[in-house]
Subunit: 305 residues, 2 copies
């Protein structure tokens, strides 16, 4: 499933004068590297695309905010023009509402997100499944509603030729963002739905602590449901907004060689997307941030991938 | 194991004029309630003990800082004089150092903590097992050192007649405080050590999100290793110091009836310790905080316990 989104780097392509590389065909050792748009969130979108391409990186992960800002067709043209392949769209999900009207609206919004994923030529839509409320704290019921929602969306994703990447999120987001907290749990939902279009994204920030991570990664790959590998570090002390404690690989506590070795051993050969939310990173000029990302990727991730 | 620390409340005891109740024999519906000292951390220790007893609560959980401040024998006298039973001592642990000298010092300190637990007449020492460092991010090795350390301390605890309550902590503390993140994982360590003196504490703040919580609680109880039940809520947004997001039951997102029902179904009849770290709670006068705790306990925990 993931092989279809893997483009092998070709030095020939970029060395031919006056010829742009095919989208996503970055040369050499950065061939699998993708830059998530929120890693450079404060850089204007066009500058982000150009700076990424100029850094010799051929892939980006985009957000629905970008689609809203630029327009779907225009955004696709811009990524094509920059020679960039889109590896994922963030984010669908938020499927835990019990109110029928809210639920219907969420499903409709997810169908639009699937269309946007197709429009950008991205293989997968990242799903942040939603949380609970102070009024309804029943985690089990919320998780069941997630599974129902995914089951409703899966045929639509299948027809569209894209996948839904369920994102288990760090348990500190278990109340407000995602009632799926572990990779095994996300795989349980995927298996329950039983669609080839449903899998998981392994994001180091969310899962590094999980004592069952090794078996979950292996299980995901065996079931052909390991759709995306996202990396960034776990920085301490936690930022006031805990989402923003995502750091450059090497700045925090995550053992990237160990986790990346598990990913490789499971047979994953797809993209590796760097997704950092961090106010200090956003303060770096785009070329500096991209160079740091590429350096840390070469140092801590690539040798084990 | 836990039954030995349970004192049934007797109204007769407190209604007899001029007779103090036996320590820990609070009357009626607060018989199982214990107030962890850090719930009223800013109240001076003597005032804390007297206010707790005056609120009709017969049990407290204490900290080693209290022992250091007051002295072991004097602290025991003060709790006895107030008619209070000590349900736990916080905290031992911090067993992840790989440096031999640090490791030796940690084990010695834990032996002192065991002695203090005995001195206070408390049945169990709560173990916060320690984290990793930026220099050594190997979680597996750190977890193995925890198991080794617990194995060294277990015979000492057995001889002393107390238990070691391994505390799985919320994964947001996985790097800096505790490499044990789930109850099943803590039980794995307990079973590996294979001492009747080693079990787990289930603290709602740390484990509420765990999709395997029900099976873990059942497993703990079946193995006679469910040593302590601590409650407080999960407040959002997270405080700048995430430890301080512990809230009065009912203020946050935790489903206390659901978790307490699991605890009861597993057969637990021991103490229920309220442990809140929260700057707003610390700003409340002690009698107000204690009355709020008792109210919320009666409302959300007791009916299901």
């Amino acid at each position: 499933m993931t092989d279809s989104i893997l483009h092998t780097g070709s030095l020939d392509a970029v060395e031919t004068e006056n010829a742009l590389p095919e989208p996503g065909t970055a040369p050499g050792d950065l061939a699998r590297l993708s830059i998530n748009r929120w890693s450079l969130r404060t850089t204007p979108i066009q500058e982000f695309l150009e700076a990424t391409a100029a850094a010799g990186i051929g892939k980006v992960g985009l957000w629905r905010q970008d689609v809203e800002e630029v327009g779907l067709d225009a955004l696709r043209r811009r990524t094509d023009d920059a020679g960039l392949h889109v590896t994922s769209l963030c984010r669908g999900g938020f499927l835990t509402a019990s109110d029928p009207a809210e639920r219907k609206a969420a499903l409709e919004d997810n169908r639009r997100a699937i269309e946007e994923t197709v429009g950008l030529g991205a293989p997968t839509l990242v799903m942040v499944v939603g949380g609970i409320t102070r009024e309804d704290k029943d985690l089990g019921a919320a998780r069941a509603r997630v599974a129902e929602g995914i089951a409703e969306l899966a045929p639509y994703a299948e027809d569209a030729g894209i996948t839904l990447s369920l994102e288990p999120m760090h348990p500190m987001f278990g109340a407000d963002r995602a009632v799926l907290s572990t990779t095994h749990q996300a795989l349980d939902v995927a298996e329950q739905v039983a669609s080839p279009a449903v899998g998981v994204v392994v994001d180091t920030y969310h899962v590094w602590w999980d004592p069952q991570l090794a078996s979950a990664i292996e299980r995901a790959a065996q079931a052909d449901r390991l759709l995306c590998y996202q990396v960034c570090d776990w920085n301490l002390p936690l930022a006031a907004e805990p989402l923003y404690s995502r750091g450059y690989m090497g700045d925090g506590f995550i053992d990237f060689p160990a986790i990346t070795t598990l990913i490789k051993a499971a047979g994953y050969t797809g993209d590796i997307e760097v997704e950092i939310f961090n106010e200090e990173v956003w303060a770096d000029p785009a070329p500096t941030a991209l160079a740091t990302i590429a350096d840390r990727y070469r140092q801590l991730v690539l040798p084990h991938a």
